[in-house]
Symmetry: C2
Subunit: 325 residues, 2 copies
């Protein structure tokens, strides 16, 4: 039987503790079905993989259709050419998992797997804020700072699939301690927890400043980037300086990337990008000031928030069919 | 008449004050002819362009042959897709020169023009230390610090043709003053004049240290990177510390680039790379320490010294014939 229905694409996003499956017809821009599942604390691969399969099979059963290709975003380092998950920093048990092969056996169709930042970059390029920009850097500023490249209209991942690790470029030698063990990495200086860490440092140095501490119920350890952002908006000068310095560090890191690669555009996603106009202005001004005058410094917000990796997974699946056809 | 002689490639290098023309047959690795001319001080475009034409025509007359394609390396920013020279920072009058078109009219064959660092990267990739490395960064550490990328086996120049400006990434906020007007650029911290500038700073702070000053005839302004390197080799501790710190700054800048792009290899050329084993060791160790453990940090000396741009020009010319064929 020859069907005239367009092929169905299945997009999967393993996002730390959040699993998402969605499907659409090739060429369409709206989901036919979309399901999300939050893993319980302590969930490992043996929980997550079957949970994702359940999610996907339920969704396909609902549609009464099978996918023609599967695109997958994974929240951790991936060796994309083989769809091999190296590990997850957040979920145990994912070490050296041949995820693309497992899913290929499961669904009997081509599967592509890549790291979430790379996939989000591709999603923004194909469907979002990066359309028409064949060379772009996507940076997510959240609990950590990750990045992904599109170069010549294709995901660029480098030799070991690790390209885009802007979070671990040094912007302030001897600066704030980073989870990677070094000091002054962009991630440590500008991510959410880094903003909170800077606020605690400033409060230690200026114990008279109480506003932010009140928001945190008097416990400096409870300060979050969101509180800093709220206090800054409310006029708290210490919080403003904290946010300004964090934004300036990000701008410096972006300026370095712009000088190195001269991309068409930089796209910023992640929770910290909701910190307000002042934060955006300082990020942009500092990046511009640290980029050679001949080089564009076009820095824009992501079009997708949580769903950028999922749209990138759609693009991966589309690529598979394009190659097959 | 059908000739069975392989096509002749003409390679031209506008290298600041040094003009080079050379020719070889496609697929060969030895020059049939090679001519170099040093421009006098104050020479501008109106001197250099006709001088290069004379050089090339003399060379072709010597061979009694015409080229099938011309590849050109230019020492300054170039918009490569159109072979348009933006300017030279060293030679007056080159602003907005359609060099590819001029040469196309002159020789009646396809011409490609690109920036010297990009072209050197391509030369090392095709014929030198980067063979088999589809993603590589070439960095020249000399009077300044420039860089060029090969990505997926092709020159990558970015939106405005400016990619590779690693010299103006910041490695030490508030550091040594740079010609670009900022402070702490990699160029200012690690190029030849930067090494001399650091030596003067150290000498100011520790006026008892006389060895280096003696080499410079007692005049701190006459200190050069080469003197620092010689004094360091001879055991002068101040010179060693100067060289060590400069090498460490370069290593940090390279580590940032490795984290961002995860290339197969980084190739270092330029006079400062002759500073000795100790310099190389510190560059490599610092780069390794500043690169995520999953990312290779393979840093090697250039295979070509002065002739890397010329070999890259050969590769540009080869590409033209490949595309035409």
């Amino acid at each position: 039987m020859i069907s005239s229905t367009p092929p169905l694409l299945l997009a999967l996003d393993f996002g730390g503790t959040k699993l998402t499956a969605a499907a659409l017809e090739i060429g369409q821009r709206n989901w036919l079905a979309h399901r999300r599942h939050f893993s319980p604390a302590g969930a490992d691969r043996d929980y997550e993989y079957p949970a994702m399969l359940d999610l996907a099979h339920d969704l396909l059963a609902e549609l009464g259709r099978q996918p023609a290709a599967v695109g997958v975003s994974f929240g951790g380092p991936v060796y994309a050419p083989e769809g091999l998950v190296r590990l997850s920093h957040h979920v145990a048990g994912w070490e050296a998992t041949p995820l693309a092969r497992w899913l290929q056996i499961e669904f009997g169709v081509p599967v592509a797997v890549d790291n979430d930042a790379n996939v989000a970059a591709l999603g923004e390029y194909r469907f979002g804020a990066g359309q028409g920009c064949p060379n772009l850097l996507y940076v997510t500023v959240s609990t950590g700072i990750g990045g992904g490249w599109v170069v010549n209209g294709q995901p660029y991942v480098g030799l070991e699939g690790m390209a885009g690790e802007i979070g671990h470029t040094i912007v302030q030698p001897g600066g704030l301690p980073c989870v990677c063990g070094r000091q002054g990495c962009l991630e440590a200086e500008a991510c959410g927890p880094g903003i909170a860490a800077r606020a605690r440092l400033f409060l230690q140095a200026e114990p008279g400043e109480e506003h932010l501490l009140e928001l945190a119920g008097g416990d400096p350890e409870k300060i979050t980037a969101k509180m800093v952002s709220q206090a800054a908006s409310a006029g708290d000068t210490l919080s403003r300086r904290v946010l300004d310095e964090s934004a300036a560090r990000l701008g410096l890191g972006l300026g370095n990337a712009l000088n190195l690669m001269n991309p068409n555009r930089v796209i910023l996603g992640g929770g910290v990008t909701k910190a307000g106009d002042r934060w955006w202005q300082i990020v942009r001004d500092t990046a511009r000031a640290n980029t050679l005058p001949e080089i564009s410094a076009d820095i824009v917000p992501a079009a997708f928030s949580d769903d950028a990796p999922l749209w990138g997974a759609v693009a991966l699946a589309e690529n598979l069919l394009g190659e097959a056809g």
